[in-house]
């Protein structure tokens, strides 16, 4: 593969991720709306939102780190997308692999945390304390899943994992080979995305307490872009690990959308959990199922 080809891939992968991420945001909103018997936003609403946020007149900055935090949040995800293979493009999948990806994904969170920290707003800091606690909660089962998958496929290279699953057909997909780990992964998905019912740190209903409290204009826009990437990353990662990746773009996108739609549709049945309950929940069921799954996989 020529260097030019690789550079093209590295440019395209984040762009595709962004566009698909916008569509995923739209889908989530539609699902939420339908469950609450509303019509929901129009098709281009996520695009309008971004244009609106970036175009606002009032943009309050609390200092250099506030700005740097947003840059780290967006930039970290742009880099992470190049580690995540998609049909026809594997980018830097062989340079990093699953463990590296899991750690690169923490950079945007750290960026956000730093940015909010400089706002000197107690409500923002409370939100970050909750967000980091939630990270500790969902990363424990997620790590078990990562380990099981890497052990099962004998590699940490995501492109290899896709190749192994696609060669053997659907019966060799991760979800067939390690259903318990797949279930544990599915249970942690909503928490990783910070979506309902694990969204207490964003606190959409209590706007005064959350990382967003001092974010206006393009700062909020940066977080919106980050959310698009976040949904895409989680969906694609799950598809790669358990659903055989994508043979072509059609099946790939179908899988990614399904991965996010299914848990989201169920999630709205549950009330929003408090931080300590997120911990208790994540450390109990997904971890138990994940450990069982590991025992089965490793025999």
């Amino acid at each position: 593969m020529s260097v030019l080809h690789l550079i093209l891939e590295l440019i395209l992968m984040p762009l595709v991720a962004f566009v698909v991420g916008l569509a995923l945001v739209l889908m989530m909103r539609k699902i939420a709306a339908r469950l609450q018997r509303r019509v929901g936003p129009p098709f281009l609403q996520p695009v309008y939102d971004i244009i609106k946020l970036y175009g606002k007149d009032t943009q309050i900055s609390h200092g250099m780190i506030h700005e740097m935090g947003i840059i780290m949040a967006v930039g970290g995800y742009i880099a992470a997308e190049t580690l995540l293979p998609v049909p026809g493009m594997s980018g830097l999948a062989d340079k990093g692999g699953l463990v590296t990806l899991a750690y690169v994904l923490m950079i945007p969170s750290l960026g956000l945390a730093l940015g909010v920290g400089q706002c000197a707003n107690p409500n923002g800091s409370i939100g970050i304390s909750r967000a980091l606690t939630a990270m500790l909660a969902y990363d424990v089962p997620f790590i078990l899943v990562i380990f099981g998958v890497a052990w099962m496929y004998g590699t940490t290279n995501l492109a290899d994992m896709i190749a192994i699953q696609q060669q053997g057909g659907p019966q060799t997909w991760g979800i067939m080979q390690m259903p318990l780990l797949a279930l544990a992964g599915l249970l942690t998905l909503p928490a990783m995305m910070g979506k309902h019912p694990y969204e207490i740190y964003v606190a959409p209903a209590e706007i005064a307490t959350g990382p967003m409290v001092e974010m206006s204009g393009k700062f909020m826009g940066g977080l919106f872009v980050m959310q698009c990437f976040q949904l895409y990353t989680v969906g694609v990662l799950y598809t790669t690990l358990f659903l055989g990746g994508g043979e072509n773009w059609l099946t790939f996108l179908l899988k990614v959308f399904a991965v996010l739609a299914i848990p989201m549709s169920i999630a709205y049945l549950f009330p929003r959990y408090r931080t300590e309950d997120v911990l208790r929940l994540m450390w109990k069921w997904p971890v138990l199922i994940g450990l069982l799954g590991l025992a089965v996989v490793m025999k």
Binding site: Q59, I60, S61, H62, G63, M64, I65, E67, I70, I71, M72, A73, V74, G75, G76, I78, A79, L83, L92, D94, K95, G96, G97, L98, Y103, V104, M106, I107, L110, L114, G117, Q118, C119, A120, N121, N123, S125, S129, L132, T133, L136, D139, I143, L144, F147, G148, A150, W151, T156, N157, D160, V213, E214, K218, G221, G222, T275, E276, L279, M298
Partner: protein, 625 residues
């Protein structure tokens, strides 16, 4: 005179020269110069670090009874010596300028401080050069006393904890001495080679005894669980630059000795063969779990600290767990990770202690409840701390990530999910804890009394920036350090890592940091372009923010570090039971009672009682007979 003799002689002369220069301002800079000269002497032996030379012997030997003591350097010694001298160089630079002036004005003696530092370096070099078990023991004792000298320089609290360290170190030294006696009984010699050859023939009981005595003895210095209670407070109370030096390298001497004894002499294969009775556990697993518990326990203790120095010192204990874990996994990836972590840890721990010292220099406190918002006044120090905490937390693009990645990767290959989980939980706890550190020092609200604080002086800033550059560059090009690490592996008989400049090239998922870091930098660049290309933002005063209907004023304090993670503590708070503190107290009072009893016996305060005891024993003996 071999290059090794020159190095040791230079180091010894430095101690003398610094003592003679005395309590003058110049002593700091001259110490820096001496360490630079020692560094040059060390670089003359750099053949060791690239596998060109196998070992450099010292021309000096000592005859004790019929045993010859000798000293030598190999790849392992060179690697640790590099970190030692590098740390001393930067620390003395840091202490040479305004810090030293302030220290002297406050009544401290620069003569004692710099002599203690030079003595530490000298003792460590002697330890690293040890060529047999007896010289290892002598070096070990020198290092223990030298670091005591350093710790005892601080306040009254420091003295108390230094004394505590001393009792731990004594117990550890006795354990090592016991192990030496055992070795001598088995082999009749103190040579490394003799022990190595005798190990396969030894029975399991004496192997276990050796393992436990050596691990306990050397584990004290590394503050392995359950011997960790002394370290955090003793280190954090040491004068700032001294704490940076001790935190960076001093406790790693324990790891050095453990590597020599466990890996080089006993052999890791031997450890895996030693089964613990009635369990599936081998000695190898036991050590790995000690490492994991040290990591998790110390990290989550750090999470609860509200003094910046103490928080860092607890992390220092925890990170030692990664090193031991990597070394006992003992495959090419894991051991490389563990050994590389020694270097990485030294760089970011020194940088972080220096930043905290700089903050103390400017504000007078390291209490996280009394700081905050300093990024507006000390932006460069903030960046050093940011780079340091990213390294400590083990996130890309800093060097801490690479060593941890190597350990994770080898645990996956090894098939140890629970160790892997433990290692990652340690990292997650570290992220929470270091965010608390940077948030409560540099972010959040700037206190009224700190409005006029200035950036740290350049004499402090330059070494901090140099360390930051090392942390970043060795994260970008980990092959630079992995070259030395692979020489260490070859020297102690571990499988040698096949490294590249960017990391590790493996068929089943390798790591190339050059690409990862480049793409991250480009990502940040694009993020910056997007940010700067859209709309203009307006800077506002820190109190001009939205607080849900309330208005924050300079009097409204919100910076908090007590219970910074209330949700988490709600769940795991009750798990902090201070069990080790209790156990230590229990042990202390048991020894107290025993010595009281012995004292009574010695002074014959209860003659009638002794008469009774003797009669009972005599009678029962007669009856049994």
């Amino acid at each position: 005179m071999t290059p090794l003799d020159q190095l040791l002689l230079l180091s010894g002369l430095s101690v003398l020269a610094i003592w003679l220069i005395g309590n003058r301002q110049i002593s700091g800079w001259s110490a820096t110069l001496f360490y630079a000269i020692q560094g040059v002497a060390l670089l003359r032996m750099s053949g060791l670090a690239y596998g060109e030379v196998q070992g450099i012997e010292s021309a000096v030997t000592l005859q004790v009874l019929e045993h010859a003591l000798h000293w030598r350097f190999d790849g392992l010694s060179w690697f640790f010596a590099l970190i030692t001298i590098g740390a001393a160089f930067l620390v003395s630079w840091f202490a040479g300028g305004e810090w030293g002036q302030r220290y002297r004005e406050a009544g401290g003696s620069l003569r004692v401080f710099h002599t203690a530092l030079a003595l530490n370096v000298f003792a460590m070099l002697v330890l690293l050069a040890s060529g047999d078990l007896l010289s290892l023991f002598i070096g070990w004792e020198l290092v223990s006393w030298a670091s005591f000298l350093m710790m005892a320089l601080g306040s009254a609290t420091a003295m108390r904890y230094a004394m505590r360290y001393l009792s731990y170190a004594f117990a550890g030294a006795m354990a090592v001495l016991g192990a030496l006696a055992l070795v001598y009984a088995e082999t009749g010699s103190f040579e490394f080679q003799a022990l190595k050859e005798a190990v396969p023939a030894m029975d399991s009981a004496s192997l276990w005894a050796l393992l436990i005595l050596f691990s306990a003895g050397f584990g004290v210095k590394m503050a392995l669980l359950p011997l960790h209670l002394w370290q955090a407070k003793a280190y954090s109370e040491t004068p700032g630059p001294g704490a940076a030096f001790l935190g960076a390298i001093s406790s790693r001497m324990g790891l050095f000795a453990l590597v020599v004894v466990l890996v080089q002499l006993l052999g890791v294969a031997q450890l895996s063969d030693m089964q613990l009775l009635f369990t599936f556990f081998s000695a190898h697993d036991l050590l790995a779990w000690v490492a994991i518990f040290t990591l998790i326990f110390a990290t989550f203790t750090a999470l609860r600290q509200h003094d910046a120095r103490r928080l860092l010192a607890w992390h220092g204990i925890g990170q030692g767990g990664y090193m031991l874990l990597g070394v006992v996994i003992a495959d090419d990836l894991g051991s490389a990770g563990g050994l590389m972590h020694v270097f990485n840890h030294a760089t970011y721990q020194a940088a972080l202690f220096m930043v905290v010292t700089a903050v103390i220099h400017r504000t007078g406190t390291s209490d996280l409840n009394k700081l905050g918002g300093l990024v507006a006044r000390m932006p460069l120090s903030f960046f050093v701390m940011l780079i340091g905490i990213i390294g400590l937390a083990g996130l890309p693009p800093m060097n801490g990530f690479v060593s941890k990645w190597l350990i994770y990767r080898s645990l996956i290959i090894d098939g140890s999910p629970l160790l892997f989980l433990g290692a990652v939980v340690g990292t997650l706890g570290t992220i929470l804890s270091v965010y608390k550190l940077i948030h409560n020092t540099f972010l959040g609200q700037l206190r009224v009394e700190h409005v006029d604080v200035e950036e740290a002086p350049w004499s402090m800033m330059i070494p901090m920036l140099m360390l930051s550059a090392i942390i970043f560059v060795t994260g970008y090009f980990p092959g630079l350090v992995l070259a030395w690490v692979s020489a260490v592996q070859a020297a102690v008989g571990l499988p040698v890592l096949d490294y590249t400049l960017g990391g590790v090239s493996m068929e089943k998922g390798g790591l190339d940091m050059i690409w990862i870091v480049s793409v991250l930098l480009v990502g940040f660049g694009i993020g910056t372009l997007i940010f700067l290309g859209t709309g203009r933002s307006k800077r506002v005063h820190q109190l001009d923010n939205y607080a849900g209907g309330h208005f924050l004023t300079a009097e409204t304090r919100y910076q908090y570090s007590d219970n910074f993670y209330p949700g988490l503590m709600h769940l795991i708070g009750p798990w902090y039971r201070k069990s080790f503190r209790w156990a230590e107290r229990g042990l202390v009072s048991a020894i107290d009672s025993a010595s009281l009893l012995m004292q009574g016996l010695y002074r014959q305060t209860q003659p009638a009682f002794y008469l009774l005891v003797v009669v009972v024993f005599a009678l029962s003996w007669v009856i049994v007979q």
